[in-house]
Symmetry: C2
Subunit: 431 residues, 2 copies
């Protein structure tokens, strides 16, 4: 049924290809699960992407799996340990919740399971998604950070342990690890994916997304999470999009690798795109990075009230300092910050009257050396604040041989055109 | 320390008065707790407002209470059983979660406890806040519904079991039971109160609020939940507000009691308000009631995915039918509904250029007879969809001797002017 070469290298095909093989019964759920589990067993000592894996339970689920359960068939899914799961401990990256067993699956997990996904395991998150390091290493360069907070999900997909993984982003927790590990990340438009059962950090900012190895891959969980099958309909030969290049005001923080990726991008796409123009953010826009930081600090200090107030001093020093900083922001300022955000959303929305997507930097550069920190989410903060859909595309190599790339940013609610434009762009950049 | 008359009638004074007596040490936390618990013991067999009370634990907390812990001092607080609590079972009104013990307090509960509140017990909610009846009766008329879904919180405050209770509103679950039971309800502006640890039903709609017996009362938890002490600063002699009267397009559904309250309102306020004008909703506004229903059905079916898909058929028939209806809405429609909501918010916001608050009906009439249903949230759906802050003011009696009243609706983010205007209005209406 399964050729030895496929069994030995489950990562040789991406989620979309695996789904097709599973549907045709050219690959069985059990063989795919076994191959993924073997890869985990071989590799996880080094990379430490997983917080919990129960191989027997995964195989039992794979054996019980009906064919054609839904668009995720019997695809193996990694789930960031910020999502509640009934059948695995859920610790949110904090010793406070070690061994915690939630009473229900998070809505996103329940939707993916109902669509046929098999949860392979829980992946490492940093402590409550903040910058305190998790155990995970960058699978391409073990002395470098995989980024955070969705460290385990990004590393597991990059290391071909499984085809898909769920993640979250509050500042840059999806796009940044995708950039550092070299996978595709899709963060949908705000409000389209239910967050029930995911540890809440910031109601304004928290977004659920998915990692995969291609744009078509990330459209699979994207369609399931948004309840929108149309997202799966990505033509192989899409029309050339109108693209805006948006360096953002923090461009001076980008290093040479990012600048080179940017130039490569321009050189490759200019002759092919329907339009490729530089886009300047409106001059009257507030500093979105500062605004995002203020909203995140205030909301996170309040969402984590129980942990901050009752479990002190168990949250780590850096997190506790951040939460205290947020708790000191006067409550009178928060409505003004939310109103400024809404005004900025309306202002930025008009940019999309002329173009379909923006290209923007994903990270300041390649994954930094060392594991004590997870890198800077600088280039993600603004897009997260605005709630716009974003897709990271890995396509080039930096000085260290790690992948670099850029993110494609869409208009709010226009996730299908974004996915189509991202696929068009990625196909051209990785040629 | 405590006079016998006070001990026998803890409900004789409202939260604000009790807070003052506690601060002056003219009333002890233990005596107040004991008096409330006695009232619960006497009355809860009939009214059934509570899902869980542990008197020994409440008294132990009262004994351990430091003076001046915060603005909620040692006030007894009822908590709707939709909020997670570490020290009491949390069932969300569903047999699926009977005996469930959460790992953390909801953020709102943690904030209230940190501000000095003592949780007296968990109050009854309908099943996942939907219309399936809870056990609670209307304390003023036991054969009538207390309204829902915050049935227990409204009944407990109305029946003077405790001074304050937390509630939530997704359609009309705060304002409607407040109207039926005759208490004040305050639903803050969207986005100002963290919802972490409250069972999520609709991310767009769910709002946390509080019940009390006066506007100053509900400002107490309001200030704590929003982290905004300014909300406590309500002058006794506030300036006369500019008021708009907004019957809404569903006015023909209002019965004679509501019409009489409306006329009384107009007669009383017209000579005193700085302005009192009829306000028509903009003609180009979509049907907000239909829009709210569509958003709620889609989001609730997805937020409750685990319960809907895994625990079927344990959700009751009526809820399951509603969730199935929501699950059948194409995911492509939801972004359009959210965009229409955002456009309506901007349109309605301009009404507040001329006036400070709107007065609007709270319910179609007095609490309906019977306990099988919890009444119609018709007059709340639109304001909930728009995320505007609302305060219900009870002030007159209908044909059955139950209280009727109206809601005061404020501009988004203008909660302090709303509270001040509501206090001004209430003082004049209850004279």
């Amino acid at each position: 049924m399964l050729s030895p070469s496929i069994a030995a290298r489950p990562g040789k095909f991406d989620a979309w290809q695996a789904a097709r093989l599973l549907a045709r019964r050219e690959l069985s759920a059990v063989d795919l699960a076994r191959a993924c589990l073997e890869r985990v067993a071989q590799r996880d000592c080094e990379v430490q992407a997983f917080a919990h894996v129960d191989p027997d339970a995964v195989l039992a689920q794979a054996r019980a799996r009906a064919v054609d359960a839904g668009p995720l068939h019997s695809l193996l899914l990694g789930v960031k340990d910020l999502f509640d799961t009934v059948d695995a401990p859920t610790a949110y990256g904090s010793p406070i919740y070690a061994g915690h067993r939630p009473a229900a699956d998070a809505a996103a997990v329940a939707l993916c399971r109902a669509a046929g996904a098999l949860v392979l395991g829980k992946t490492v998150t940093t402590e409550f998604t903040y910058f305190h390091r998790g155990a995970t290493r960058n699978p391409r360069h073990p002395d470098h950070t995989p980024g955070g907070s969705s460290s385990g999900s990004a590393a597991a997909v990059a290391d071909r342990r499984l085809p898909l993984a769920l993640d979250t982003q509050t500042a840059g927790s999806s796009i940044r690890p995708a950039a550092y590990c070299g996978v595709v990340a899709y963060k949908p438009s705000r409000g389209r994916v239910p967050r029930a059962g995911v540890k809440s950090l910031s109601e304004t900012l928290d977004a659920i997304g998915g990692f995969g190895r291609s744009v078509r891959d990330v459209a699979l969980p994207g369609a399931v999470l948004a309840g929108n099958a149309r997202l799966l309909d990505l033509p192989a030969l899409g029309a050339a999009p109108r693209i805006g290049l948006c360096r953002t005001p923090r461009w001076p923080m980008a290093d040479d690798d990012t600048a080179r990726a940017w130039d490569q991008d321009h050189t490759t796409l200019a002759p092919q795109a329907a339009a490729l123009t530089d886009v300047e953010p409106p001059a009257d826009l507030p500093d979105l990075v500062a605004l995002q930081k203020a909203v995140m600090a205030f909301e996170m200090s309040r969402a984590l009230s129980h942990d901050r107030l009752v479990h002190r001093p168990r949250p780590s020093g850096r997190l506790q300092a951040f939460l205290d900083e947020g708790a000191a922001i006067p409550g009178t300022e928060h409505p003004a910050h939310l109103a400024a955000t809404a005004a900025a959303q309306r202002r930025v929305d008009t940019l999309f009257d002329e173009i379909e997507v923006l290209l923007a930097p994903s990270a300041t550069g390649e994954a930094p050396a060392g594991l004590a920190a997870t890198g800077d989410p600088l280039f993600c903060r603004g897009w997260t604040l605005l709630g716009l859909p974003c897709i990271h595309l890995p396509f080039t190599q930096g000085r260290l041989g790690l992948l670099a790339g850029l993110q494609v940013v869409g208009r709010w609610g226009q996730d299908h055109p974004l996915l189509a434009a991202a696929q068009w762009t990625h196909e051209r950049l990785i040629r």
